[in-house]
Subunit: 321 residues, 2 copies
């Protein structure tokens, strides 16, 4: 599809046409050069939505929570889009929640949009094109765009840097081993959620979280991340979570910190986009400059660092993507 047709797609998406939005999301995921004009146009029109990252280990119940939060936001009359990046996410199947909310219940409503994106190599991490997908949904007029990620590894940090508000979901009974993985995540949360608060050991999880936060909170000016109990079974705490997400956004606006967040997001995106370009150019130089440098490395004549220094000076600058 050519440039003009791409821009027709942009106009259609911005007018809220679901099929146009879906096609632009597919382009964001593909990363092909032909997708650029439309994605760049959507970026130009984005910036209004509240971007909320929700992260938690598999089994923490975050997908359920995301669906409940989406329904609650919708009931308030606001529109909401979800980008789910989780190999185990039930969004990629059909039913969102099994019993409580079915895909169809949200799916027939044009004020809700759900998109599941593949991860790199099924090992988690923000999928390529995730943030461009957020641009597409933002510029299509959704009030809130939620990014759901599996809560292990580097992707929490990535989602925190890509979202205005980051929610970290913990669950009782997942075991110390899993909680240990999450230790590094606590500091990036704007809001903590303890899911499954109807379970008997939920109070201990809440108390553990609060005690871990005390030292952190004492030293942090401004917003104090709350710890909110929720239950997918009873619906408890979902409205309070929506209120906390809104309160966090309001606090960012009032303190002026929203500008700092936006700047961090832009900086992160510029670096990531630069890394992607580097990889593209590496691929294109594979049979040429890259091959000769690899031969020198194999002969132990050049270290990886020395070879990389030469490569960056010699990479083709011409743009195809």
């Amino acid at each position: 599809m050519g440039y003009v047709a791409s821009l027709d797609l942009v106009a259609a998406a911005r007018a809220g046409h679901t099929r146009a939005i879906a096609r632009l999301l597919t382009r964001a995921e593909s990363g092909v050069a032909e997708a650029r004009p439309a994605l760049d146009a959507m970026f130009a029109h984005a910036g209004r939505a509240h971007v909320v990252g929700i992260t938690g280990v598999p089994g923490s119940g975050k997908s359920t929570l995301v669906a409940l939060v989406a329904a609650a936001i919708r009931k308030q009359g606001r529109t909401v889009a979800i980008v789910a990046i989780d190999p185990s996410s039930p969004f990629s199947g059909g039913a969102i929640l099994g019993d409580r909310i079915r895909m169809g219940e949200l799916g027939g409503d044009p004020g809700v949009f759900v998109r599941s994106m593949a991860t790199r190599g099924a090992l988690g991490g923000l999928a390529r094109g995730t943030l461009e997908a957020v641009d597409v949904l933002d510029a299509s007029g959704f009030d809130v765009v939620m990014i759901e990620t599996v809560g292990v590894g580097q992707d929490e940090v990535d989602v925190a840097r890509a979202a205005h508000t980051t929610v970290v979901v913990s669950a009782p009974g997942l075991g110390d081993d899993i909680q240990a993985i999450k230790a590094g995540v606590l500091e990036i949360a704007d809001i903590h959620v303890v899911s499954k608060c109807d379970k008997p050991d939920a109070n201990r999880t809440i108390a553990d979280l609060k005690s871990m936060l005390i030292l952190d909170l004492a030293n942090r000016p401004g917003w104090k991340p709350p710890v909110l109990p929720t239950s997918a079974a009873t619906g408890e705490g979902v409205d309070a979570l929506v209120a906390a997400v809104d309160a966090h956004r309001a606090a960012l606006e009032q303190s002026g910190e929203i500008a700092t967040r936006r700047a961090l997001i832009d900086e992160r995106r510029l670096l990531k986009a630069s890394e992607e370009l580097l990889r593209d150019r590496f691929e294109r130089a594979r049979d040429g400059r890259v091959a000769s440098l690899l031969a020198a490395m194999a002969a132990r004549e050049l270290s990886p660092h020395a070879a990389a220094t030469r490569l960056l000076a010699a990479l083709p600058q011409g743009e195809t993507a």
Copy 2:
């Protein structure tokens, strides 16, 4: 410390002096420019060691296993070095195993070297300088260099690409949620280990793994990844694991596949080193070109991709690191 003194350090490390090795490892981790000549020299002398990656989720018992394998290799008269990259690794404390093997038991032996490396942001991932640390230990004459990583996220793939032989450790009773995280890891294993095989549900874990592997194995020529039961409590299976690691190396040599592995490792290292250089240059251009591009992004005049394209053409090529 200047260039000449650095090369003295190289000579001392290659002669097996523990303190020189430790200092070079610190330099590898630091990534500072002054470290380059010595690290490049160690790369030039590396390439003899068998590099073994051992990966598994926290709670899988991989640290215990690594210590037992190291002791078994040592008993055969070979030397062994361990690079542990796991925020929860007991190597970073003092005792390796609690009861069974204490740091001191291996620690007094110059034929064993253990180094714990910090992860980026405590969220896992191969630490910067990990592969240069492997170079240092390799060029210092250790027969086997083991890299221990926490088994979640992208780092399994990274370790697989950095090691000649990759061991993936599974444990019974960790729950389906955790096993789901690991699904993407199965394909990178040269050897599967089921730890804690003295536990009652170990047989189910072994059977599950084998059934998952059947389809994969049918289509894979050459080496068939075995599934080995081990027990830290009884020591069962440790010698069999050492034998399998050696058999895998022998198979790589016989089939000639070792050359393919080495080429993949070099390619990965060249790309990683290029990305690190890009980040260094990004930092140096932060107040200049980067700032003006970020201003254009904030005004929605340039998309991240468009800004990145301009940045890569304009980055300072001068080398400081």
